[in-house]
């Protein structure tokens, strides 16, 4: 009898999981999304500028990443460089968005799998392998409530810079629409301090508790471990990357070539309306497609599936803590640890960015959007790498394909039969209780 988990909540979108097991061992797995959520048809024929606002509506948490990816696509087509001030403001916003994503991920999605939280949906009377003592649990639950306040502070800060959150109004083609004034910069720094304090105290404490109690999860939830990042946080005319674009495959570190990116949709509920497998492929949704099992359009590099996200960014940028974990970095605990590590680095970096802003310099380059052109643009988000593919024809959007972290981490089975990172990570694991496979939940939600 296969194990079916449908739906699995507390993920960025609900998932369906199917495990073909042999006794207590998972043999083969399928992980998929359960509903059509795609803006390609919505954006076709629209004004290219609308993509910045509309594509944010792909994800209510990682919205800054989509706004930035969309703006970058337009800027690439026009071959426009944005002023350094704009670059810095976008970096700050993206940094805040990623921290928001990590805190949400840990406290809202992950934590109820490790400690009993009232009304978190875990059944009573089932052994869920809780290992942390009740006095510490009590403390962690208090921290969970504080995490909501910190998330609110982060969104207040995003709104101070970008208008409102979720979904900002200030990211425009060519830069941003508003400079950060002197008084606002001071306010931003004081709010940032609250966020940093939470990361350094509560978040650190809680990750530490879980890491100690669940040390075995450094050996659980791994796979071949191909990692990829498109790099992020450009500064100084794009020359100085805080994280540089890289991929890690079986042969070692490689540089990324855009031309090796292709779509994978054979296992999805999409059919191609055009030939080939380029990122420009146009799709139509077919819910009863034979062989389809997921609403996610996949993306692969060099025909291989890759894991993206904080662990990829930290590992590939040589973060010592994560790199020292070696092959254990790609594991349940490695992923959780990498998100915290990224929060440290970003919180520190953001203070520097605020100081680098020059209130007298402009925040946007002016230009006309070309009537024709094509671009593939990237942005990182808390959950993984985002790719936007845009083609403009006669001044209107002709093609707009959006790929997000799920396109990588749960890319539907490739044409050549390769499974995605999440499916690989749960294949072969030992399951203690087939009715409530907590090990599977912990692995899936670690992504």
């Amino acid at each position: 009898m296969p194990i079916v988990i449908n739906p699995l909540n507390r993920c960025s979108r609900p998932l369906k999981i199917l495990l073909n097991n042999h006794g207590s061992n998972a043999k083969a797995a399928e992980v998929s999304t359960t509903y059509y959520w795609d803006h390609s048809k919505t954006l076709k024929g629209k004004n290219p500028l609308d993509a910045i606002l509309l594509s944010q509506r792909t994800n209510g948490t990682d919205f800054i990443s989509h706004a930035i990816a969309a703006a970058r696509a337009l800027e690439e087509i026009a071959q426009v460089k944005i002023p350094e001030n704009a670059q810095i403001i976008r970096n700050i916003l993206l940094g805040l968005d990623i921290i928001y994503g990590h805190i949400t991920h840990f406290y809202q999605y992950v934590l109820p799998d490790y400690i009993p939280i009232p009304r978190s949906g875990n059944p009573s009377g089932v052994d869920v392998d809780y290992r942390i003592s009740s006095d510490v649990v009590e403390k962690m639950i208090t921290h969970m409530w504080t995490s909501y306040e910190i998330r609110r502070t982060i969104h207040n800060l995003i709104a101070l810079i970008g208008g409102k959150a979720p979904h900002v109004s200030n990211i425009v083609a060519g830069g941003v629409s508003k400079a950060l004034s002197g008084p606002d910069a001071i306010r931003a720094k004081s709010m940032l301090r609250q966020v940093s304090d939470f990361i350094n105290r509560e978040y650190t404490h809680d990750i530490w508790q879980i890491k100690v109690a669940y040390r075995d999860f450094f050996n659980i939830g791994g796979w071949e471990g191909r990692l990829l990042t498109f790099g992020e946080f450009p500064q100084k005319e794009n020359s100085n990357y805080y994280i540089s674009p890289k991929a890690l495959d079986e042969s070692g570190l490689v540089n990324i070539q855009k031309s090796l990116l292709t779509v994978e949709y054979s296992g999805s509920y999409f059919e191609a309306e055009t030939k080939g497998n380029s990122l420009k492929t146009q799709f139509r949704p077919v819910p009863d497609k034979a062989g389809g099992y997921s609403w996610t359009k996949g993306i692969v590099y060099s025909k291989q599936t890759y894991e993206t996200g904080a662990v990829a960014r930290m590992f590939l940028s040589g973060n010592k803590i994560i790199a020292d974990l070696g092959t254990n970095a790609v594991s349940v605990m490695g992923r959780l640890r990498a998100r915290l590590e990224e929060c440290y680095r970003l919180a520190e970096q953001m203070r520097i960015w605020i100081d680098q802003l020059n209130p007298k310099e402009r925040v946007a380059s002016e230009f006309e959007i070309p009537k024709e052109g094509e671009a593939i643009s990237f942005a990182e988000s808390s959950g993984g790498s985002i790719v936007h593919c845009l083609s403009i024809n006669k001044g209107k959007i002709d093609i707009y394909n959006i790929f997000d972290s799920y396109s990588w981490n749960i890319c539907p089975t490739t044409y050549e039969g390769q499974r995605n990172p999440m499916e690989r990570a749960i294949t072969g694991i030992r399951i203690a209780n087939n009715k409530y496979p907590i090990q599977v939940f912990r692995i899936i939600r670690s992504f």
């Binding site: 609900p14 509903y35 004004n47 819910p287």
Partner: protein, 347 residues
């Protein structure tokens, strides 16, 4: 605490963030509402449909320290059923038939018998489409709250060609018990304030598009801090220029909501303070009607004001409808018949 009168509650809800005296009453008033609901065992069931999750994210921002625990007594902050729990909302529905509050976030795709959104499966392994859950629960619920423009009217999900045939909740459930809280996303105050009103006093007064008047009673344009620029014909033509943003595509003149006075995220900002135009996200036809976001709405010739536009003005009691109509075409506004007009015409 003495029970607040409905009038007082409305006054508190309508208060802007700047009115500090009143906003200090906001949290205790809501805490009272949720406390009453918890005492009466009145559950709130929140279901996520086809959505980006931005509405629940916005709602989470309202989780004030004094409110959160009491809120979590009536509402599961997971927002979505988990493994083996797809049946749980149905049990709640049956046990509290005609009383419980159903909150829907996201649109509901109708095409292919709902196959574009499968919310889970039953014990025999059969797919459960979202549309079935929403229809069944909606029929059992006392009040249905559509959170966000997708759940209210289809929103981003329903833009042409709308291959999934996504619709808002009122398309499936008796509109008489549906309250729409549009916005992309809606302001958290609009959500908790409406829930609070339902719990304490029942359904709030709604406008012609099913929106609570206490939050959506005014035009963005009328309360805009940049209104003086409009009156003096000073228009910005690019981001960062001083002036009314009409020429940059602002949809404030057709969008209803209290954003300019309430303000967002800690009462200090909103879309327009990011030097950007309003994109009209509370409009029943958002985003179809309000795109292109950065292009000025077409002009109108005065004799062309359609009766529909007049109607909207009358129904909503907006004094400056004429002012609005002078600037904008009937074609933008035509076809925007509210529920009352729809039913009159037997639509």
């Amino acid at each position: 605490m003495k029970k607040l009168s409905r009038r007082q509650f409305l006054k508190i809800c309508a208060a802007s963030g700047a009115a500090a005296g009143l906003s200090q009453l906001w949290i205790p008033a809501l805490a009272e509402a949720f406390g009453e609901a918890a005492k009466a065992n009145l559950p709130v069931v929140w279901i996520q449909g086809s959505a980006c999750g931005g509405c629940s994210t916005s709602f989470i921002n309202s989780v004030h320290p004094e409110l959160r625990e009491i809120l979590s007594e009536v509402l599961d902050l997971t927002f979505h059923p988990n493994l083996g729990q797809t049946a749980a909302p149905m049990d709640t529905g049956r046990n509290h038939r005609g009383k419980f509050i159903l909150v829907i976030e996201g649109a509901i795709p109708k095409a292919n018998k709902g196959a574009f959104n499968i919310i889970g499966e039953d014990s025999s392994g059969n797919d459960i489409p979202l549309i079935d859950v929403v229809s069944n629960l909606g029929e059992m619920a006392g009040t249905v709250v559509a959170v966000g423009t997708c759940a209210s009217y289809g929103g981003v999900s329903a833009v042409e060609p709308n291959v999934s045939y996504s619709v808002g909740v009122e398309n499936l459930i008796d509109p008489g018990k549906v309250i729409n809280i549009p916005g992309c996303p809606p302001h958290p105050d609009w959500i908790v304030g409406t829930l609070g009103h339902i719990m304490l006093y029942g359904k709030p007064d709604l406008d012609d598009f099913g929106r609570p008047k206490m939050f959506y009673g005014g035009l963005i344009h009328n309360n805009c801090p940049l209104r003086q620029y409009f009156e003096n014909s000073i228009f910005a033509t690019k981001a960062g220029e001083k002036g009314c943003m009409l020429m940059m595509g602002c949809k404030g003149p057709i969008a209803f909501g209290d954003c300019p006075t309430r303000q967002w995220n800690g009462s200090s900002s909103w879309c327009v303070s990011g030097n950007a135009p309003c994109i009209g996200c509370t409009d029943p036809k958002f985003p179809e009607l309000t795109m292109p976001f950065y292009q000025k709405m077409p002009e109108i010739s005065i004799p062309g004001i359609s009766s529909t536009a007049d109607n909207i003005g009358k129904v909503l009691g907006v004094a400056t409808t004429a002012g609005v109509a002078i600037h904008f075409t009937g074609s933008l506004i035509s076809g925007r018949l509210g529920r009352k007009n729809k039913s009159k015409e037997g639509d």
